[in-house]
C-alpha cells in the first residue's frame, strides 16, 4: 500500500491544471440539454481534442493518451477543480469507444474512433424501449436483413443526447423468431438517416436532453454492425458494465459538491435542522469514501483485476450519496429551495442538482436491480 502520488503523477496533475486554467471557458456554458448549450459543449469537446484531452484513457492509437486509471482520476479532479463543462462526448468516451475497441473490426475502429475522439461525431444511446427499461431483454425494435442492409423499425427511448447528436448505437432484434437475450445485434446508424424521427422528451427540469427515436424502415449497411449477428446482448452487457462501472461518475464531482455543501451549511448553520447538519457531515465523509474506494478499485484494475458485480456497489453508493447531499442542500435553502432562478439572477444549482440526483437511483440500472445483482452475484443468494 502506497498512498502517495508519484512525482510523475504530480507533474501530470500540474500539466492538467495549467491547461485547464488556460482553456476552460470563463463564463459557464448554457445547458447541454438545449440547442445553444449543446453547440457550446460540442465546441468545448473540440477544444479538449485540440489539446489531446478528449479521451485521456483511450490508447494513443485511437486519439487518446493511454492514461491509467489513477491518472484518469487526477485528470477528473483537475477537470472539476477548474469547473470545466459537462461532456457532450460522454457516450462515446465511456460506452461506445471501449465497445468498438473490444468488439469492432479494424475497419470499424478506423472509421468510428478517430472522429469520436476529435468530437466530430457526437453519439447518442439507443438502448431502452418503452417496455424495455429495467428489463432490457424485452427489446422489440427489429432489424430485418435485406441483402447487405438491415431495415430497422421500432422505437427507442431515454436516448441521452439524441435530440442533437449525429449518430446512435443500440441493439435491435435481428432474428424475428428470437426471444429475450437471443437474436439481438449491436448496430450503429446516423440519426439523419431517412425514416428516423426524433421526439424530444421534456424532463422534470423542463429541458429536453433525452429523446425518443422512431425508426420507420431505416436502411443501415450490414457493416455498421458491431460483432456477429445475434451477439448484441453480450456486447451490450459489456457496454452496460462499463457504464455502471468505475467511470460513470468520477469522485471529484461529489467531492466538489461536498465542498460547496459545506460552504452552504456555513451560511445557514444557525437555521439548519439537526438532520441537515448530520447530512452535511455525512456528505463530506461519503464523498471522501467514494474517492478512496475508486482509487482502491483503480489500483486493482491497473494490476489486471476485473470489475464485475462490484460496479453495482459503486452505483448505489454514488447515486444515494448524491441524492442525500442535494436533499440536505434543499433543506438548508428552506423557502429559497423552490426558486429556479435566484434573486441575483444565478440559476439555483442546488435545485438543478437535486432534480438531476433523482435520476441517479433510476438510470443505468435502477438501484433495485443493482441490489439484486449484489445479493445474487456477490453474496450468492438464490435467484
Amino acid at each position: 500500500m502506497d498512498l502517495e502520488y508519484t512525482p510523475e503523477q504530480n507533474a501530470f496533475r500540474a500539466e492538467v491544471r495549467a491547461w485547464m486554467e488556460a482553456h476552460v471557458p470563463k463564463t459557464p456554458l448554457k445547458t447541454l440539454e438545449g440547442r445553444e448549450g449543446y453547440d457550446q459543449h460540442v465546441e468545448w469537446e473540440r477544444e479538449l481534442a485540440s489539446g489531446n484531452w478528449g479521451m485521456v484513457t483511450w490508447p494513443e492509437a485511437y486519439g487518446g493518451r493511454g492514461l491509467d486509471l489513477i491518472r484518469w482520476l487526477i485528470f477528473e479532479e483537475e477537470y472539476y477543480r477548474a469547473g470545466a463543462p459537462l461532456r457532450a462526448n460522454q457516450n462515446g468516451i465511456f460506452l461506445l469507444g471501449p465497445t468498438i475497441m473490444e468488439y469492432g473490426t479494424d475497419e470499424q475502429k478506423a472509421r468510428f474512433l478517430t472522429p469520436m475522439a476529435k468530437g466530430e461525431v457526437i453519439w447518442a444511446q439507443a438502448w431502452s424501449e418503452p417496455n424495455a427499461g429495467s428489463d432490457m431483454a424485452a427489446i422489440r425494435s427489429r432489424a430485418v436483413r435485406d441483402g447487405d442492409h438491415y431495415v430497422i423499425s421500432g422505437q427507442k427511448t431515454w436516448s441521452s443526447r439524441a435530440a442533437f447528436a449525429d449518430w446512435c448505437f443500440g441493439i435491435f432484434r435481428t432474428d424475428s423468431e428470437s426471444k429475450r437475450h437471443k437474436g439481438l445485434s449491436f448496430i450503429l446508424l446516423p440519426l439523419d438517416s431517412p425514416g428516423v424521427t426524433i421526439r424530444p422528451i421534456r424532463q422534470l427540469h423542463g429541458e429536453t436532453g433525452f429523446a425518443e427515436i422512431f425508426f420507420d424502415e431505416v436502411r443501415v449497411p450490414v457493416e455498421n454492425r458491431i460483432a456477429g449477428e445475434g451477439e448484441g446482448w453480450n456486447v451490450a452487457m459489456a457496454t452496460a458494465g462499463f457504464e455502471r462501472g468505475l467511470m460513470l461518475r468520477s469522485p471529484a464531482r461529489f467531492q466538489a459538491a461536498a465542498k460547496r455543501l459545506v460552504a452552504l451549511y456555513k451560511e445557514h448553520a444557525a437555521t439548519a435542522s439537526p438532520a441537515a447538519h448530520e447530512a452535511v457531515l455525512q456528505a463530506w465523509m461519503d464523498a471522501e469514501a467514494y474517492a478512496l474506494n475508486t482509487y482502491s478499485v483503480a489500483a486493482t484494475v491497473i494490476a489486471g483485476g476485473h470489475i464485475g458485480a462490484e460496479a453495482s456497489l459503486n452505483k448505489i453508493f454514488w447515486s444515494e450519496l448524491d441524492r442525500a447531499a442535494h436533499r440536505a442542500a434543499m433543506s438548508l435553502l428552506g423557502a429559497t429551495a423552490e426558486l429556479r432562478t435566484l434573486p441575483d439572477g444565478a440559476a439555483n444549482i442546488w435545485q438543478e442538482g437535486y432534480i438531476f440526483s433523482l435520476s441517479g437511483p433510476i438510470y443505468a440500472g435502477s438501484n433495485e436491480i443493482q441490489r439484486n445483482i449484489i445479493a445474487e452475484r456477490l453474496l450468492g443468494l438464490p435467484r
Partner: protein
C-alpha cells in the same frame, strides 16, 4: 373524544373531491402549464360550491364552518393540485378581515395575497385585489416583480415589507400542511397505479417486493401524519394554548410525508417519472414549494424543540389533548 369526521364534513369532502376529480383533471394542469395563467372556471366552480364563504359566518351569508372544514378542503386542493388562490384567500385570510371583505370573498369578488416576513416571496400577487400584510390590508401593487419557481403552476413575486402576524402564519402553515398531505396521498396513488400496470420481466412491477415495500413505507408515513394534521386543525379551531406546537408538528409531518412520497413515486415510475409524460411532476414540484412556504421544516422543528426540550411544556400521554385534568 371522537376523532371521526361528522356526516357534514364527510359530505363536504366528497363534494369537493367529486368536483375536482371531474373538472380539475391533469389535462387542466397541462393546459395551464402551456398557456400560463389561471383557470377562471375552477375559481368560479369552487366559489359556486361555497368554498369562498366556508369560514364566513352564516349570518353574513357564508357556510359558517371552521378550520377543520378548511383543512378538509385544503387536503382536496392538494390532492388535485389546484393553483387558484382560493386557499390563501378563503381558507387563510377570511377570518382576519372585516365583514364587507368577507362577503366579497364569499362571492368570489375579492382575491387576497398574503405577506409575512417568514416568506421571502408572495404568491399570486398578480391576480390579487389586496394584500394582507402584518395586520394591515393593503391594495395589491401594480405590476409586481415575478420570481422564477420550479412549480410551473405557482406564481411568486417579490415581497412587501411588513410586520409578522402570528395568526396568519399559523393558519397558513396549517393549510399548507393540509395541501401537502393531499399531495402526498395523490403521489402515492399515482405511483401505486403505475406499479399495477407497468410491466417488466413479464409481470407488473408492483408484484416485486422492493416496489411493494417502498410504497408500503409511504403508506405508513402518511397514515401517521394525517391525525397530526387533524389534531392541529382541531386545536386551531378551539384556540387551544398548544395550537402553534400542534401546527408545527403537522407541518413537519406533512412535509416529511410529501417529500418521501415524491422521492418514492419517482423511483417507482423509473425513467417515466423523470419526464413530463406522466403527471407526477406537478405534485412533486408543488411539494418542494409548499415544503418551504410558511416556515420550512427546520423552522417548525425549532418551534417544537423550544417547547419540548427548551421550554417547560408538559409532555407525555396525559397531555396529548391537553385535557382539563391537566389544565383544570
Amino acid at each position: 373524544m371522537d376523532f371521526r369526521f361528522t356526516e357534514d364534513q364527510l359530505n363536504l369532502r366528497e363534494a369537493i373531491r367529486d368536483y375536482l376529480t371531474g373538472e380539475h383533471t391533469p389535462e387542466v394542469l397541462r393546459r395551464l402549464d402551456v398557456e400560463g395563467g389561471r383557470d377562471a372556471a375552477i375559481w368560479d366552480g369552487l366559489i359556486g360550491m361555497g368554498i369562498g364563504g366556508l369560514l364566513v359566518p352564516e349570518a353574513e351569508g357564508g357556510l359558517g364552518m371552521g378550520l377543520i372544514e378548511a383543512a378538509i378542503v385544503a387536503v382536496e386542493l392538494g390532492r388535485a393540485n389546484v393553483s387558484e388562490p382560493i386557499a390563501d384567500t378563503a381558507l387563510v385570510a377570511t377570518p382576519l378581515l372585516g365583514s364587507d371583505q368577507r362577503a366579497a370573498i364569499a362571492a368570489g369578488a375579492l382575491k387576497v395575497a398574503l405577506a409575512h416576513p417568514i416568506n421571502p416571496w408572495i404568491a399570486d400577487l398578480d391576480s390579487a385585489d389586496m394584500v394582507l400584510a402584518g395586520e394591515a390590508a393593503l391594495p395589491a401593487p401594480e405590476d409586481p416583480a415575478p420570481v422564477d419557481t420550479v412549480d410551473p403552476l405557482r406564481r411568486l413575486f417579490a415581497p412587501i415589507e411588513c410586520a409578522a402576524d402570528d395568526r396568519l402564519l399559523d393558519r397558513a402553515a396549517l393549510i399548507a400542511a393540509a395541501q401537502l398531505i393531499g399531495g402526498a396521498e395523490r403521489m402515492l396513488e399515482l405511483a401505486t397505479d403505475y406499479a399495477k400496470t407497468r410491466e417488466q420481466f413479464g409481470q407488473p412491477i408492483g408484484s416485486f417486493q422492493a416496489i411493494k415495500h417502498h410504497l408500503a413505507t409511504v403508506a405508513v408515513k402518511l397514515e401517521f401524519a394525517r391525525p397530526v394534521l387533524w389534531r392541529a386543525a382541531y386545536a386551531a379551531q378551539q384556540r387551544a394554548a398548544r395550537t402553534p406546537i400542534h401546527i408545527s408538528h403537522a407541518k413537519v409531518a406533512a412535509t416529511d410525508a410529501a417529500m418521501l412520497a415524491a422521492e418514492t413515486a419517482i423511483q417507482v415510475h423509473g425513467a417515466m417519472g423523470y419526464t413530463y409524460e406522466v403527471d407526477l411532476h406537478f405534485w412533486m414540484k408543488r411539494a418542494w414549494a409548499l415544503a418551504g412556504a410558511w416556515g420550512d421544516r427546520a423552522w417548525h422543528q425549532r418551534r417544537i424543540e423550544a417547547a419540548v426540550i427548551g421550554g417547560g411544556m408538559a409532555i407525555g400521554p396525559e397531555t396529548t389533548f391537553a385535557s382539563e385534568l391537566n389544565h383544570g
